[in-house]
């Protein structure tokens, strides 16, 4: 069996159900692969892990992957299971924000560590400064990874994922009517999320490409299975969660939402979506994520092989 180590971008949750399902249901085994899944966390940069040789393939968001590419870690997207972005800004309706134009003079919570770039790009498109509250500026907070800032009203808006944080706000007793959501997808600033990335030099090895093809194929089978069996998938995620902190209700719901973002994806990257992402990132105001249009940041070599054999 060929060994593959996968580094996730975040903690074990249904966001990565496809991989856990493929492992649990033996899809990887059927492809003659021995897969190890490493969960991530807030301060684990998958790009760093793969640069240091700690993983063969990582799940990452495209902004961070392209930034790493510019920083000298040549990552290449080999597959893109997530077709749509689940990122959004969730605001209190009673804070007087009804449209993006109302952001001015409010406090917005944003995730950093690579996720701030689409946001900055958006703000610069809106003509808003990000260095303090005033008539044409917003105050930005580096938000932790929970929804407290909104609940405690320390921020008027916070970043949420459609599949996770948004529901935590709802779970905290807030009714959907009290909230207003701005999806990045709807605002035209969406960037590609959870894709699979490898180091460019590895791709020179045909054996590696073959291994990745089998990996992608099995992973997509996993995703398909997970979409069809959301409850079982959530249970598999729970069984793999080493912190033992997840609940089945939340993960089942997350699975349902994640399925919407994957849709009917085959795993192949849509070049148009890639171009859109690059455009968004290049427009990123004073400090763009990437300064030059990246070359060779994606390949269909792996998905071509994976899909051909299906």
């Amino acid at each position: 069996q060929d060994a593959v180590t996968l580094q996730l971008k975040w903690v074990t949750q249904a966001q990565f159900a496809g991989y856990y399902v493929a492992l649990d249901q033996g899809f990887y085994g059927e492809e003659n692969l021995d897969v190890t899944i490493l969960p991530g966390g807030p301060d684990i940069a998958p790009t760093q892990v793969i640069a240091g040789g700690g993983a063969d393939v990582v799940v990452d968001w495209m902004p961070s992957a392209l930034a790493a590419r510019e920083a000298g870690v040549p990552l290449v997207n080999i597959a893109q299971p997530f077709q749509a972005s689940g990122m959004q800004l969730t605001c209190w309706a009673d804070s007087g924000i009804a449209a993006p134009a109302d952001f001015a003079n409010h406090t917005l919570g944003v995730w950093f560590s690579g996720n701030e770039y689409p946001f900055l790009s958006w703000m610069s498109q809106l003509g808003l400064q990000t260095d303090g509250k005033d008539a044409d500026g917003v105050e930005v907070l580096k938000q932790g990874f929970n929804v407290d800032p909104l609940i405690q009203r320390q921020a008027d808006c916070i970043s949420t994922m459609t599949y996770n944080e948004y529901w935590q706000v709802i779970d905290a007793g807030v009714t959907p009517e009290e909230l207003v959501n701005f999806k990045y997808e709807d605002q035209g600033v969406a960037t590609l999320e959870d894709g699979l990335y490898v180091l460019e030099e590895s791709l020179a090895d045909p054996a590696f490409v073959d291994r990745m093809a089998r990996f992608v194929r099995a992973s997509m089978r996993g995703w398909q299975w997970a979409e069809e069996n959301p409850e079982e998938a959530a249970q598999i995620v729970l069984d793999n969660d080493e912190t033992g902190a997840q609940t089945i209700e939340h993960q089942t719901r997350m699975m349902g939402e994640v399925a919407k973002l994957i849709g009917d994806s085959t795993g192949a990257l849509d070049p148009a979506a890639y171009e859109r992402t690059v455009a968004t990132l290049m427009a990123g105001g004073s400090a763009p994520v990437i300064n030059a249009v990246p070359e060779g940041a994606w390949t269909t070599a792996v998905t071509d092989v994976a899909l051909a054999a299906q």
Binding site: G41, D43, E242, A245
Partner: protein, 316 residues
């Protein structure tokens, strides 16, 4: 010993009372918002307007409603009995009745604090041992080599001003990249935090023998090794144990910090997970568990100290 039991009980009681009382104003805003959602009339205007009012005023003007601050599901400040219930459920409750509990599966559940305390304990002990060994060796070097004394000591101090905890994720990743995984990266961080008190204490201890005792050794024509084994090391034992008590607490902090970035179990991971999902009660339960662990470890070192000193003919 017995004379302090009663005062301690009083202090604990006082803490509990303050805790319960404080929970009401701490939780009042959320309590009021929820009451409002349930259709109740509350004083203080809208939720946004209430943000501007003082919590005490809100409590005073909504006396009946505010008491719900003791029974919220996601409180800002959980009250002691909520934490106690969570502690019970995530230990005994989970192991006995849980689907993956000990009773069902013969293994400890990964949802149980017992498992996580065990993971943390393992890394803490390994890190502590590494840190102690490194500290003792470094101290021996410092005492016997003036170049080392003069050059290493200032840097040992500076090393402790490096925010190692901020480095923790990087250390974990870098060690990961050279194939070191699991317990060891955490142990390295706890070793880093625990070696310093040991160095400081041991340098003091190894230098505790006075001029007369060293001269005595000299008159017997004892070598460096003999002097170390028969004089310096035994003389440093009380200093060593005093440092070990600080070091083991530091090691625990190191482990927990090392567990924060890597969600692979342990009390640190548990605290962070609690934070991700807004489970304040879970954070507090993990914190309390960590405190129990800390007290246990320090107590264990204290017990070892008493035994050792008694074996060494101590008068105490």
């Amino acid at each position: 010993m017995r004379r302090s039991v009663l005062p301690v009980l009083w202090v604990v009681l006082a803490i509990l009372v303050v805790w319960y009382v404080a929970a009401i104003p701490m939780n009042v805003r959320e309590v009021l918002t929820q009451a409002e959602r349930g259709g109740a009339q509350v004083w203080g205007g809208t939720a946004a307007e209430r943000q501007e009012r003082s919590a005490l005023a809100l409590v005073a003007r909504n006396p009946g409603v505010a008491m719900a601050g003791w029974s919220q599901e996601r409180p800002r400040l959980p009250v002691p009995h909520q934490v106690a219930v969570e502690l019970w459920q995530s230990t005994v409750g989970e192991e006995v009745f849980g689907r993956r509990g000990f009773v069902q599966t013969g293994e400890f559940s990964n949802r149980s604090l017992i498992t996580h305390a065990g993971i943390t304990l393992g890394a803490t002990v390994v890190g502590f041992l590494i840190g102690t060994a490194a500290g003792v060796l470094l101290a021996i070097g410092i005492v016997h080599n003036r170049a080392m004394d003069m050059s290493v000591m200032p840097w040992a101090v500076i090393s402790q001003t490096v925010p190692i905890v901020a480095l923790a994720p990087m250390i974990v990743v870098v060690l990961n990249s050279v194939g070191v995984q699991g317990l060891l990266p955490k142990a390295v961080i706890s070793a880093y935090l625990s070696f310093f008190p040991v160095v400081v204490g041991m340098v003091k201890g190894l230098r505790a023998p006075d001029r007369m005792q060293l001269d005595q050794m000299h008159t017997w024509n004892a070598g460096t090794g003999d002097t170390l084994r028969k004089l310096r090391l035994p003389a440093s034992v009380p200093y060593l144990f005093a440092s070990l008590k600080v070091a083991i607490a530091a090691a625990l902090v190191g482990t927990i910090v090392g567990e924060l970035p890597v969600q692979r179990g342990g009390l640190g991971a548990r605290m962070l997970a609690g934070s991700y999902y807004g489970q304040t009660v879970q954070i507090w339960a993990a914190l309390l568990m960590a405190a129990v662990l800390a007290a246990g470890l320090v107590g264990l070192v204290g017990w070892l100290e008493r035994r050792t000193l008694r074996a060494m003919g101590g008068a105490a």
